[in-house]
Amino acid sequence: MLRSSFTALRYRPEVVPRRLLRRPEEDLLSGTGAPQARPGDPTPDVGTGSSDSRVVLDADQIARACARMAHQILEANRGAKDLVLMGIPTRGVALAHRLATVMDEVESVKVPVGALDVTMYRDDLRRQPTRPVGHTHLPVEIDGSTVVLVDDVLYSGRTVRAALDALGDLGRPRAVQLAVLIDRGHRELPIHADHVGKYIPTRTGEHVSVRLAEIDGVNQVSIEPGDPFRGGT
């Protein structure tokens, strides 16, 4: 069991030079442009049919990125001791569970997974209608542990800022790290991710859409041209 899954998840870690972050349209993981859909991939559902939207990660690529991140996290922390994965709802939680699954398969360790809703800590609450609040769940006491915050997309950094504040109200971890599936650049705060699935250079107005099977029934990351007046996420 262990071996087979290890084989399946073989990968080559890549170091991403930061200077490349802003280079547009370059796929740093595969070296290609928009990947081809392969037979067996779930059919993208409505919304991706737009001719302007482009798929930047397909199901396999997402799986590989997750696997790589899981390894990175374990490597960086010399194992799973005192590690807690805290996903930021909605898709961050699903990703945290995926990371935990990989860690379990790789090292046979059960890393506790929680959810950290940051809605009430956001700095933009008053800029839009009342946002629905997600669930916060602490799987263990976090005092003294290493909390890895997990989110789907890192953009302005404001969500992470909110998450750090929210975390501070829950306890005092020894260290906090950040893992994101997509880093799309355009930071507005001095925040960077420790573990990144993929860097995707984007324009400000664009929208990065992460779809995960647990929530959306499909695994896919795409870039959609956003409403220029709204800004992307």
């Binding site: 009430m120 800590y121 839009q128 209608p129 009342t130 609040v133 916060t136 501070g168 109200d169």
Partner: protein, 310 residues
């Protein structure tokens, strides 16, 4: 949602959202830091024309735990006798730059009127003999929690019967609960002596009945209402004793309740009158849960009203 004036302002989805958020809020109460920053910089004024320590402090804590600045203003005593109109009082308070006014008034409709005069959000914290929507929300929330103990996936109250027993005519809790619980799909049955059933009750989405013993074995929830002291001398029923025998939740009636059924009371209770000590303290009494739910539900409502853009 701009104001919360009546339980009728809420549809089933909104009520469910408020309940779900209240569940989250109740978890906050177990944390080392009980405060959330969502309403930082917002000002909530509790404008109480009628005393109510319990409701006022519940709103106060709810506001503070959401980081709002909460100010209590007691405007007790008839403004008519003070020469200042309700409109003057409300405008004066609103002019101080408040984001929400939580209004409790001894006269029906006062929060409704206030909402037409000012821009701030208005929350009805009980108006005369009209409505008390946050009480109904916390009652509904408590009932949902109770029902979910045996049915964790329960989303609404379809197929459930709630009996509301007592002075319906003068009860704002009853009015709001009738609206809220029936919106959630419950069958509400009102039980009272004919003198305490309101005029026009036939048009309410309820069954009305004068015989508690007929209703009791079918009710999943039995909600007992407080008998106000002034009603006892108002000739609505001959004596407290006769009321207790007819409409009190006595020990024998406790036995007659459906198995798994629970007891609610919005408080404060007249032990020995509408509810016996046995019933109040029974294992299936939700009365303390109701009190505990007050802050969570009001946090949830304040967030719904004030958490977003104007």
């Amino acid at each position: 949602m701009r104001h919360l004036l009546s339980a009728a302002d809420l549809d089933r989805t909104q009520i469910t959202e408020i309940f779900d958020l209240a569940e989250e809020m109740s978890l906050v109460q177990g944390r080392p830091v009980k405060k959330l920053p969502a309403l930082r910089g917002r000002t909530v004024v509790n404008l109480f024309f009628e005393d109510s320590t319990r409701t006022r402090s519940s709103f106060e804590i709810a506001g503070k735990w959401l980081s709002a600045d909460v100010i209590n203003i007691s405007a007790k005593g008839s403004s008519v006798s003070k020469g200042e109109s309700l409109r003057d009082t409300v405008l004066t308070v609103a002019a101080m730059g408040v984001d929400a006014l939580v209004i409790r008034h001894h006269a029906s409709g006062a929060p409704w009127q206030a909402s037409h005069w000012i821009d701030a959000h208005v929350l009805n914290a009980g108006d005369g003999t009209h409505e008390h929507p946050t009480q109904a929300l916390l009652d509904g929330f408590t009932i949902r929690r109770h029902l979910r103990r045996s049915a964790p996936d329960l989303v609404d109250f379809e197929g459930k019967t709630v009996a509301i027993v007592g002075d319906i005519t003068h009860s704002r809790v009853a009015r709001s609960n009738v609206l809220l619980l029936s919106t959630l799909g419950a069958q509400v049955t009102l039980v009272a002596p004919p003198t305490l059933l309101p005029p026009g009750v036939d048009s309410w989405p309820v069954l009305a009945c004068t015989d508690l013993d007929e209703v009791l074995p079918h009710a999943d929830i039995v909600m007992m209402l407080r008998v106000q002291r002034e009603r006892m001398s108002g000739g609505y029923f001959p004596t407290p004793r006769e009321y207790t025998i007819g409409y009190g939740l006595t020990r024998p009636r406790l036995e007659a309740m459906k198995s798994g059924a629970a007891i609610c009371h919005p408080g404060p209770m007249n032990r020995g009158l509408e509810i016996s000590a046995d019933a109040a303290d029974a294992a299936n009494s939700l009365i303390l849960d109701q009190v505990a739910a007050g802050v969570s539900v009001r946090m949830s409502v304040l967030y719904e009203l004030l958490g977003g853009a104007e």
